[in-house]
């Protein structure tokens, strides 16, 4: 027999001015199973809470209903109070008499009646509440960071510095990512590598960070606190312990004409190579597709010249399994190849290049050692045209979204060009200048005013070659839409930032959702920007959407702090409002028939299998089982289960039914 206590709050006058709180308390007192009922000016105040605690103790209440403001406001407060009085906090419910009643209705009989109905409804619910206990999940305090760009580096360093183990996985031979390819960074124009490489070294030397380069995630199982990840370490064909990174092999390798990925094809590399001088780790790998030994079966020059005998042609991919408690995805972005835009002539004309290629041209470590020279003949371009939004904001042929970074780096490119080629002329075709960010607008202004970059608001319709010049045809929409033609020596396309080719596959491996552009989806666009909808997996950087460096670093630290918070406890404690599959005595064991349609409906892959065996260990039945670590308590499975075998604690079928019946039977 339940003994419910009902506490009606005046909320100063917020409720009492339109609701006859005294009558509500009286009416509640007459309800079956209500042992105590009262009203008070401020239930949330200290005396109010004390009143509740005393009643619980003195009357031995089995449940509490507080009729006051929205539970979204004070539910934690009153549940805490109950807990302190020795009552299970989940035996406390709130009737929303303020936001849903007194504030939205005028003073009247009907308003008071509604308040009574709401209270009665919650009383009937709380009668069926069961004591619940928050769920404990053990935490493996090792983080897996996928992607060694600035996002992954930042996240790893933060987590590691907090004293936790980090395993950083990078698919390329070196960490550094796109940032290591950049020349100078907006809005400060400090050299990208100068600020990045120290952090790369820090990663390599950090005692808490285990660096796995040339490796990729193969599989991810388990759930928050205890994931099991399988990593594929691709064969580098060298023994990293023996190799001392002297570089003899890379200089002696006869296959020298392979377009360098790092230099975006503007430079060449050898078959055994280190992507760039400051690479971390600074040890080479053999690119099997281009190595004449792997392709034709002879050469082995590197083996001959290697002083430490570190070359291993017979090396094979290795699969390593690791236990981690959290995952940070920091796989970054990719640049859309503008080949889908024949009118720009990219690929047809050597001197039409992408923004990333220009970064390499402008970079001191680049193929031209930082001199702006055009690919075709190495001449210094006198006139250069930059095309912003080359693919971005173009639903017809490109991508509908804004790539965000192009406005800034295009301004930077023009600036760098002007600084390096003083007599040169630079033009930027743009749609809008989006320079929202600290010191960003000022930066663009500088480009326009001090460096005299010519901004033309309009699109480019065609680029073609005519006697050695690139004719850029476009329109200037500000000059009464006049067509403009510029005879340029070089054209730079600010090609769109897109998701990495492998993004979808990776997302599916980890059961995190991704948007229609294959960027990873955050759990909530505003309030959970670094979480994914899968607990324990977090996002950092441009794998979630195009981002510049400051944003990326900030988000990476955000993701890291989420991981650190997660690791701050030995056990996870989660709200127990989750789904459970029922159990019943033999021979039924559970009314679940194992159709597992609930599993396909679950947004969190929280529903797995459980095999029920008899004493001899023979499987008698296969039923659904909810993983409490994954279940977020949405209850979709509950409404979906035909045999009502799965139910959700705190919003159980019995409770909801009782509420419906109570709410509609006020006579």
């Amino acid at each position: 027999m339940s003994k419910i206590g009902v506490f009606i709050c005046h909320c100063g006058e917020n409720i009492s001015s339109t609701v006859d709180v005294v009558r509500v308390a009286e009416a509640a007192g007459e309800l079956e199973g209500v042992a105590f009922s009262t009203d008070y000016k401020y239930m949330c105040s200290d005396p109010g809470q004390t009143m509740i605690k005393q009643a619980i103790k003195e009357k031995g209440l089995t449940g509490v209903v507080v009729g006051s403001c929205s539970p979204r406001m004070h539910e934690p407060t009153f549940r805490k109070a109950c807990k302190e009085a020795g009552l299970n906090p989940f035996m406390c419910e709130m009737a929303n008499l303020r936001e849903h009643c007194s504030w939205v209705h005028d003073k009247s009989e009907a308003t008071t009646q509604k308040a009574i109905d709401l209270v009665r409804t919650l009383v009937e619910k709380v009668k069926l509440n069961k004591p619940l206990f928050s769920i404990k999940v053990p935490v493996t305090k090792t983080a897996l960071v996928i992607g060694g760009g600035i996002a992954g580096i930042q996240a790893s360093l933060d987590i590691a510095s907090a004293g936790h183990q980090v395993i950083l996985v990078e698919k390329d031979p070196s960490i550094g990512g796109h940032m290591s390819q950049l020349s100078e960074t907006f809005p400060t124009l400090d050299c990208s590598q100068c600020i990045l490489t120290p952090r790369m070294v820090e990663v390599a030397q950090h005692p808490n960070i285990k660096l796995l380069t040339y490796a990729e995630l193969e599989k991810l199982e388990g759930s928050i606190g205890s994931f099991k990840a399988t990593i594929r370490k691709k064969a580098k064909s060298i023994d990293e312990n023996l190799c001392n990174g002297c570089g003899t092999c890379t200089t002696k390798c006869p296959t020298k004409k392979i377009p360098s990925e790092f230099n975006t094809g503007l430079g060449m590399r050898t078959a055994i190579y280190v992507p760039f001088p400051q690479a971390v780790p600074n040890k080479p790998v053999i690119d099997k597709e281009n190595c004449s030994y792997y392709q034709k079966g002879k050469c082995k020059v590197c083996e001959k010249v290697c002083p430490t005998g570190a070359i291993r042609f017979d090396q094979e991919d290795e699969l390593v399994e690791i236990e981690v408690g959290a995952v940070v995805i920091a796989t970054g972005f990719d640049i859309m190849q503008p080949s889908g835009f024949p009118e720009y002539g990219y690929g047809k004309y050597k001197d039409v290049i992408t923004g990333l290629q220009f970064e390499r041209l402008a970079s001191a470590s680049g193929p031209t050692l930082g001199e702006i020279r055009r690919p075709s003949d190495g001449k210094i371009p006198e006139k250069i045209v930059f095309v912003a939004c080359a693919g971005s904001r173009d639903p017809a042929k490109g991508i509908p979204y804004c790539s965000k970074i192009c406005c800034m780096y295009t301004a930077k490119h023009a600036m760098l060009y002007q600084h390096k080629v003083h007599h040169g002329k630079s033009y930027i075709f743009y749609m809008d200048i989006r320079a929202a960010g600290k010191n960003y607008e000022e930066f663009v202004r500088r480009a326009i005013v001090e460096d005299e970059v010519n901004y033309i608001r309009g699109r480019v319709s065609k680029i073609y070659e005519e006697n050695g010049k690139l004719i850029v045809k476009g329109v200037d929409t500000l000059l009464s839409a006049k067509p403009v033609e510029i005879e340029a020596d070089m054209v730079v396309l600010a090609s769109a930032a897109v998701a990495n080719p492998g993004a979808e596959e990776l997302a599916q491996k980890m059961h995190v959702s991704y948007d229609s552009y294959s960027f990873f989806s955050e759990a909530h666009p505003k309030l959970k920007p670094v979480e994914t909808n899968t607990a324990g997996i977090f996002l950092a950087g441009a794998c979630q959407a195009p981002k510049d460096i400051p944003e990326t670093v900030a988000q990476a630290s955000g993701a890291a702090s989420k991981v650190i918070i997660l690791f701050s406890k030995d056990e996870l404690s989660r709200d127990p409002l989750i789904a459970v599959v029922n159990r019943s005595p033999a021979p039924v064991f559970s009314t679940c028939v194992g159709c597992f349609l609930c599993a396909s409906a679950c947004p969190y892959q929280a529903i797995g299998e459980e095999l029920i065996t008899n004493r001899q260990g023979k499987v008698i039945k296969k039923v659904a089982k909810v993983n409490p670590g994954l279940c977020q308590g949405c209850g979709t499975c509950v409404a979906f289960c035909r045999s009502k075998s799965i139910d959700i604690q705190g919003y159980s079928n019995e409770q909801m039914c009782a509420e419906v019946v109570a709410l509609l039977n006020n006579d």
């Binding site: 009314t591 028939v593 396909s600 009502k644 079928n653 039914c657």
Partner: protein, 266 residues
């Protein structure tokens, strides 16, 4: 049907299966389901136009499971049910031997469910025009009249649950109608109880029903309950495209498309 009988014999003799679920002679001119465990009894197996019961219903019944691994005589409706049961994890390919029977009453063996799906792709569920017509007529009635019509149609129902027992997809160990915590459905077979029961039944078959009409055939009062499932089958088709069981396609109600279309949500 000698071929069928021989196949059955062979299966039992080789002990590949322990029981053959098939059609046998029933009282008067009717046929009934028979469960042959001895190869000598295989001669009792028959198959002709009268064999309309959906034998798939027995695959999930514990009494039959006890008999051991079954082979089942499976005309198209049975095949559909088998496939849906497979989709719903109630059957694996090693659990049964399927003796498929084409509309031309040729016997086809299906060693994989995928083959069944491939075969059914060429034998899609078709709702007969007459049913479309009836449903159109009903929907044409004014809402109150329609309601009255159904209350009347459902009135004879005395909740014998033959429809449930005959449905291959009603294999739950405990049906919601038997759940009294809470009491989802008013117990007696009065108009409300009947209405609630049949709505629930139809909803639980939404996107699963394979239109075998076993429920209707089983109803002792001849209530046209199959109209409900047929209409929903059509709704599935109209709203989400293509109905019928499929191993690739997810179940209609346990899956979704972000751009599912509706016109009634404000």
């Amino acid at each position: 049907m000698i071929e069928l009988i021989n196949k059955a014999k062979a299966l039992l003799e080789s002990n590949a299966v322990q029981v053959v679920i098939g059609y046998g002679k029933g009282t008067s001119n009717r046929t009934r389901a028979i469960f042959v465990t001895q190869s000598d009894d295989c001669d009792k197996l028959i198959f002709d136009s009268r064999c309309v019961q959906n034998l798939a219903v027995y695959l999930t019944k514990s009494e039959i499971k006890k008999l051991g691994k079954p082979a089942i005589v499976a005309p198209i409706p049975v095949l559909r049910s088998i496939l849906e049961l497979a989709v719903e994890n109630q059957l694996t390919e090693n659990d049964i031997v399927v003796l498929g029977i084409t509309p031309e009453s040729e016997i086809v063996d299906f060693d994989t469910f995928a083959n069944i799906e491939a075969f059914l792709a060429t034998h899609k569920i078709v709702i007969e025009e007459k049913y479309h017509e009836i449903i159109r007529l009903i929907k044409a009635m004014p809402v109150a009249e329609r309601f009255a019509y159904w209350v009347k149609e459902l009135e004879p129902c005395f909740k014998c649950y033959a429809c449930r027992a005959a449905c291959p997809l009603c294999y739950c160990t405990r049906c919601t109608v038997d759940d009294n915590q809470p009491q989802w459905i008013s117990v007696p077979s009065h108009p409300l109880g009947n209405l609630e029961w049949h709505i629930m039944r139809a909803m639980h078959l939404a996107g699963r029903c394979t239109d075998c009409e076993a429920c209707f055939n089983a109803c002792p009062m001849g209530i046209p309950i199959h109209l409900l499932t047929k209409s929903m089958l059509q709704d599935v088709n109209d709203n989400f495209g293509s109905y019928g069981p499929s191993l690739e396609k997810q179940n209609t109600l346990s899956s979704y498309k972000p751009d599912d279309k509706e016109s009634f949500i404000r």
